[in-house]
Each structure stands twice: as structure tokens, then as C-alpha cells.
């Protein structure tokens, strides 16, 4: 029982992260049609920023977090301007570019942090909230959950209630039509990857105090993000969020009651099943003839 409740809490916290990772990937793919293989590395950069600023130079955590978001956003924008924009309409080119960035960022991380054991960041919000002697939630994780929830809500508001967000969605639905309606594709692309970068930076910054920080940590992030986005539907943000939480639950409970490896296998197989039954994901739009 205790384990069951604890697992539910764990699932939600994990779900929050999965959603942050996935949503960024969806945005960039939806709006720019590029699969950003370096997305995981962006998260990694976010985490390293916290390690440098907060753990090494003692900058307050919240400031470091903001700077991390800013930095990663900048990297994203740079990628859009110099790598993705020239490769518009050439997804494979964009893919290769993102792989190049992936390699480079990993080495930068290696130069900054060196090898040896993974970097660690002491949690700024130490301590654990204990509910009725059977639920224990570290304040750091509570904080992370809250922030990711807020971030996702803000994103939802931005996309559904603002003119810019509307133009983003328009481009995601039909690039040409949007362009005809006078929407500036380059600008929307920049916004999309900016937001995506910001979310990646945020995710990295929130993860930093709870996980191992090492140059190749982006790999797992990317794979999970893929699973989530596919199950959720590549075009659909709400789908990504729902799928993230579902996947987190599945993964947590299978891990707890069966095995971690089996859990990952299940994730992949479910992804395939979803693709077979509904090639555009649970929330994805039907592709018409």
C-alpha cells in the first residue's frame, strides 16, 4: 500500500520531466519539421549550467535556473538561425546538423566538467515532506513538479490564447497555408525552438540536483522523449503531456513490480503498437488522403 502510494507520487514527478522533454521535441518537429537529435544535449547543457553556476560559483539556485533557461534558449536560437533555417525542407540535412551539434555539446561538457564520476549538485531545497508516515516527498522534487506544471500551463496558455501561439499552431498544421496567410515562418520557427530550448534548459536545471550529470546524459532523455512524443502523437502537445504521464506510470509500476529492463521494453513495444493501431499517435490528427 505504502509502496503503491509512493509509486504514484514518483510517477507524477517523472511524468512532469518526461512532459518537459517531449513537448520541446514536439514543438520543433511540429513547426520546423526537424527531428532535433540534440534535444537531449540541450537538457544536458541546462544541468551543467546549474552545476557550474550554482554548485561551483555559488550563484543562487533560482538565478542559475533562469540563466540556464536563457543559455539553452540562445543555443536553440543559434541552431535555428545557422543550421536549421538554411536546411529548410531538407529534414535529413537538419538531422545531420543536429547530430553534429550533439557531438560538439558533449565534448564541450567534457571540457567543462572533465571525466571521472558524474557531477552532482546539492539540492537547494533540502529535506523531505512526510505525509502521515507513509508518503515521503523531497521538497526538491515537489518544487520540480510544481515548476514543470506551471511551465506546461504557461505553454498551453501561450499556444491557445495568444496570437503568436495561434500562428505557431497554424504553421504546425500546414506550413504553406500559414505562409500564404502572411505568417512569418522564420519568426515562428525561431519562437518554436526558443520555447523548446527554454523548456529543455528548465528541465535540465530542475533535474540537476536530483540526478547524475555527465556529458552523455542526453541519450536517455532523447529516447524517452521519442517514446512519449510518438505515443502522444507527433503533432500534439496535449497528447505529449498525457502520454508522458501515462508512460511515467507504466514505467514506474513495471519497474517496481517487475523489472526496469522489462519496463523499457514495454515502453518501446507500446509505442510500436500505438503506431500500428494509430500511426499518428493517440492524440494525433488523422492524415487524410
Amino acid at each position: 500500500m505504502e509502496l503503491f502510494l509512493q509509486s504514484i507520487i514518483n510517477s507524477f514527478i517523472q511524468g512532469g520531466f518526461f512532459a518537459l522533454w517531449a513537448v520541446g521535441l514536439v514543438l520543433v518537429f511540429g513547426v520546423m519539421g526537424v527531428v532535433n537529435f540534440a534535444h537531449g544535449e540541450l537538457v544536458m547543457v541546462g544541468a551543467y549550467t546549474i552545476w557550474v553556476l550554482h554548485a561551483q560559483y555559488g550563484t543562487p539556485y533560482l538565478w542559475s535556473l533562469c540563466l540556464a533557461i536563457l543559455l539553452v534558449m540562445m543555443i536553440g536560437l543559434a541552431m535555428e538561425r545557422f543550421l536549421f533555417r538554411p536546411k529548410q525542407g531538407d529534414p535529413l540535412g537538419g538531422l545531420i546538423n543536429s547530430i553534429g551539434v550533439l557531438f560538439i555539446l558533449q565534448v564541450v561538457a567534457h571540457v567543462v566538467g572533465g571525466t571521472g564520476p558524474a557531477k552532482q549538485v546539492a539540492p537547494p531545497y533540502a529535506g523531505t515532506m512526510i505525509i502521515g508516515e507513509l508518503l515521503r516527498i523531497p521538497y526538491q522534487r515537489l518544487f520540480a513538479l510544481a515548476i514543470s506544471a506551471v511551465a506546461l500551463l504557461l505553454l498551453w496558455y501561450f499556444l491557445t490564447r495568444t496570437k503568436l501561439g495561434w500562428s505557431l499552431r497554424a504553421v504546425a498544421v500546414d506550413r504553406e497555408a500559414a505562409a500564404l496567410q502572411g505568417i512569418n515562418i522564420n519568426r515562428t520557427s525561431a519562437i518554436a525552438i526558443g520555447v523548446s530550448g527554454a523548456l529543455a534548459g528548465l528541465a535540465g536545471g530542475l533535474m540537476a540536483p536530483m540526478t547524475n550529470i555527465y556529458p552523455t546524459m542526453g541519450h536517455n532523455v532523447l529516447i524517452t522523449a521519442f517514446i512519449v512524443t510518438i505515443v502522444g502523437g507527433m503533432g500534439s502537445l496535449s497528447g505529449a503531456v498525457i502520454a508522458a504521464v501515462l508512460y511515467a506510470f507504466l514505467h514506474t509500476f513495471v519497474t517496481v513490480y517487475v523489472s526496469g529492463t522489462i519496463a523499457t521494453m514495454c515502453g518501446l513495444l507500446i509505442m510500436v503498437v500505438v503506431l500500428i493501431i494509430r500511426p499518428t499517435g493517440i492524440m494525433g490528427k488523422r492524415v487524410s488522403e
Binding site: S11, V52, G114, T115, G116, A122, T261
Partner: protein, 431 residues
């Protein structure tokens, strides 16, 4: 080891350092590619390292190279080593195989044939597997950190330093004696063969010998980002001892134990960077946490019989240039280098076969933590691993200190059948 992260960082980013780091690779490369201008009357002997320096496995390669360069420089500045009437300068040549089997065999041949090194140090596992056919045929002395690579067909493959994971039995022994009323234990480890399952088998055996019941073993993949679920499921078994048969994930796991209010004892294989662990939990929580890898500034390492020159000085030198990169391999490869020097002196030659024979001829070969014994026939069909004493380390108010040295050899002599049983239970190769 006892630097604050801040110092660590400035050490890394002092103007001199930063360039240094950025060019470390290129620098090492140059060291490798150009033969050192040797002083008149001295020769140069090259020793190879076929290790991962990039990718996920880099932490088990690069620090070792740094350590070896420190030791080699020390020996060279002392005028080199005297082998068979000649003075030899020692030169380390490294090849990065990124833990890829294809590149491992190419790297091995480059080192053996092009650089003409006299020994090749490797990490172990599949990369060693891919070079063995060539290495054994060529009679090239090869060292691994995983004795489980040894088979009856590998006379030139030695594991003279880390007898992973056999030494873990000492920690369990010590802990059990300190806590006679501990009755149950859980084990968490990775689902791979080389590290995870070997360790799990060893710990299973060690606990059985101490009459402690292992109530759950969790094999997890390398894709775990959050250990909360696994730790919760293990703690649900209410163990007296929580055993971490893993290296990379110790910090997040201990952190979870802390947050989930674990009260019992913790035994681990390693605890690299334990200041971080303390920072993430609390001094009180990690008090008495038992593991196997000492800081090298530990005074206990200055006792006679330790076969490692000036551990404290080595530790300082390493942290001066490579602060925060310390991991067990940082001293293990150097220790193998030292073993080679001793054997070469004894053999009066640097030729691989001669050195190997000299090594094997020594009935009590110099092991890092005191005289050792050749062992392994019982498990792998060939006694090419050196086992001797191994330190049991525990955290005493925020500082890792060696509690005592216990003999791995004696344990194995008594209980290797138990170990064998548990290895076979996990489908691990034994004779």
C-alpha cells in the same frame, strides 16, 4: 580528494588550467606520437593503454591515463627504471576505443605492432574479448581490471590489481561482524554481466557466508534517470542492510535512501566523490557507510607493505591537474604499471613473455594493498588474478577512513564453492 567543489572548479579553470584542459587531448597525443628525447645512455620503453577516452565509458579510462602519466613522470624524473643493466624511460601510449570492439582490436594492433609497446592495459569486458585471440597468439602481455575475462586459454591476460568484484566480500565480512543482529539484505545493481551480475553473485555469496538473507536483488538498466521507484520497491522489503553493487549510480541511490527515510546499514562497492553524497544527504546519514575504495591521502596507506609509492603525494598531484576526475581507475592502472616495473626488474627484460613469466613466477606478487597471491583456477580455470588484502573503508564524521585490511584470498580459499554456486545461479561463466 578533500577539496571543496569550488577549489576543484578553480583548479580546473585557473587560466593555466583551462587551456590545459582544452588541449589535454592534443597534448597527450603529442606525448604519445613523438618519442621522448631520451638522455644519453637511456632507452625508452613504451607501455600501451587501449582504453575508452570518449563516450559513456570514458570515466573508466581517461583518469587512468592521467594517473599513469604522473607515475611515469615520477619514475622518469628519478632517472628512469633500471632493467637488466639498462636505464629505461617509461612512455605511456594511449588509444581511444570508445568501448567499441571494432576499434579495440585496431587500437590493440596499433599499440602492439606500430608503437611496439611491451604491455597493453585495458578496462575489461567485450573490448578485451575482441583483442584476446590476437593478443594471446602474439603473446602480448595484457592487463584487465575484470578477472572474469580470464579463461584457461589466456595465459598472457593478467588482472594484477583490481580483483573486481571479489574484494567486496571483505566489506560484507566487516559489516556483519560490526552488526551481528543484521539478518536481511537487498542488492541493487546493473543488469549487465561484466559488472552487475558478477558483483551480485559475489555479494550473494558473501551474505550467505555471514548468514544474512538476501531478500531482493534488483537488476536495472543503464537508462534509469530516477531511482525513486527502484529504491521504494527495495525498501518495501524492510532490509537491515542495503547493498549497492554499482558505481555510477551510488549518489542518486543514497540520496533516495535518505529521502525515503532508510534507517539500516549501507554497504557499497564504490562511493566516488562522497563529499557530494554528504552534501546531498547529511553527515549523520552517511556515517558508517561501508565501501571498498580508500582516498589516497588516507594515512593508513602509509603503513609498510603497501605497494604504492607515496599515495598522498600521488593524490595531491592528481588533484592538482585533474581535480574532480578521480575515480578508482585513477590509481588502478598506475598500480598495474608499478607491477609491470617490478616484474620487468625481476625478469631483467622488458619483453612481454619474459615479464609475464617473471610476474607469474613470483609466489607472492606485490599487490597494491600488500603481498598477494595468484588465484582464479577455481573459478576461471587459470590463476592469473592477484588477490590479497583489500581495505574496508567507512565514513567517519564526513571523512572516508580505512577501517582495516582484510584478506580476500583467505575468504576465497574457504568459500569459493559458495561463490561458484551463486555465479552459476546467475548463468555466469565458471569452470
Amino acid at each position: 580528494m578533500t577539496k571543496t567543489p569550488k577549489e576543484v572548479f578553480q583548479a580546473r579553470f585557473g587560466r593555466r588550467r583551462f587551456l590545459g584542459t582544452a588541449l589535454a587531448g592534443a597534448g597527450a597525443a603529442i606525448l604519445g606520437s613523438f618519442p621522448r628525447i631520451s638522455i644519453a645512455g637511456t632507452k625508452t620503453v613504451k607501455l600501451g593503454m587501449n582504453i575508452p577516452m570518449t563516450g559513456d565509458y570514458a570515466p573508466w579510462g581517461l583518469p587512468g591515463l592521467y594517473g599513469c602519466q604522473i607515475i611515469a613522470n615520477n619514475l622518469n624524473t628519478d632517472g628512469g627504471v633500471k632493467i637488466g643493466g639498462d636505464r629505461y624511460m617509461i612512455e605511456m601510449v594511449a588509444y581511444d576505443h570508445g568501448y567499441d570492439t571494432e576499434k579495440a582490436i585496431q587500437g590493440f594492433k596499433k599499440l602492439a605492432l606500430q608503437d611496439k609497446v611491451k604491455m597493453v592495459m585495458m578496462l575489461g569486458g567485450s573490448t578485451v574479448g575482441s583483442v584476446l585471440p590476437f593478443a594471446m597468439r602474439r603473446k602480448m602481455l595484457t592487463s584487465t581490471l575484470l578477472p572474469s575475462d580470464i579463461t584457461p586459454e589466456t595465459p598472457y591476460l593478467v588482472a594484477p590489481c583490481e580483483s573486481h568484484p571479489l574484494y567486496n566480500v571483505t566489506g560484507v565480512e566487516w559489516l556483519a561482524r560490526k552488526n551481528p543482529n543484521a539478518k536481511t539484505a537487498v542488492i541493487i545493481t546493473t543488469n549487465d554481466i561484466e559488472y552487475g551480475k558478477q558483483s551480485a553473485a559475489t555479494y550473494n555469496a558473501a551474505f550467505e557466508v555471514e548468514g544474512i538473507k538476501v531478500v531482493d536483488v534488483n537488476f536495472h538498466g543503464f537508462d534509469v534517470v530516477d531511482f525513486a521507484p527502484i529504491v521504494s520497491s527495495l525498501l518495501a522489503k524492510k532490509p537491515d542492510i542495503f547493498c549497492m553493487a554499482t558505481d555510477v549510480y551510488t549518489t542518486p541511490i543514497v540520496e533516495q535512501l535518505f529521502h525515503q527515510g532508510y534507517k539500516g546499514k549501507i554497504v557499497s562497492c564504490t562511493l566516488d566523490g562522497y563529499q557530494d553524497v554528504i552534501a546531498k544527504t547529511s553527515k549523520e546519514f552517511v556515517e558508517g557507510l561501508t565501501y571498498q575504495f580508500p582516498d589516497f591521502d588516507d594515512p593508513a596507506l602509509n603503513k609498510p607493505g603497501i605497494n604504492f609509492p607515496d599515495p598522498g603525494g600521488f593524490d595531491m598531484a592528481f588533484n592538482k591537474d585533474h581535480a574532480g576526475e578521480w575515480s578508482a581507475v585513477a590509481w588502478e592502472y598506475p598500480s598495474i604499471l608499478l607491477n609491470w616495473v617490478e616484474a620487468a626488474k625481476a625478469a631483467g627484460s622488458v619483453e612481454p613473455v619474459a615479464v609475464t613469466d617473471a610476474m607469474k613466477a613470483d609466489s607472492s606478487p606485490p599487490h597494491t594493498f600488500g603481498p598477494g597471491k595468484w588465484w582464479g583456477k577455481e573459478l576461471w580455470g587459470l590463476s592469473n588474478a592477484v588477490v590479497g588484502d583489500w581495505p574496508v573503508v567507512a565514513i567517519n564524521n564526513g571523512k572516508a577512513r580505512i577501517q582495516e585490511f582484510r584478506s580476500v584470498y583467505n575468504w576465497l580459499q574457504k568459500y569459493n564453492n559458495v561463490l561458484k554456486k551463486h555465479m552459476q545461479a546467475l548463468d555466469l561463466r565458471t569452470v
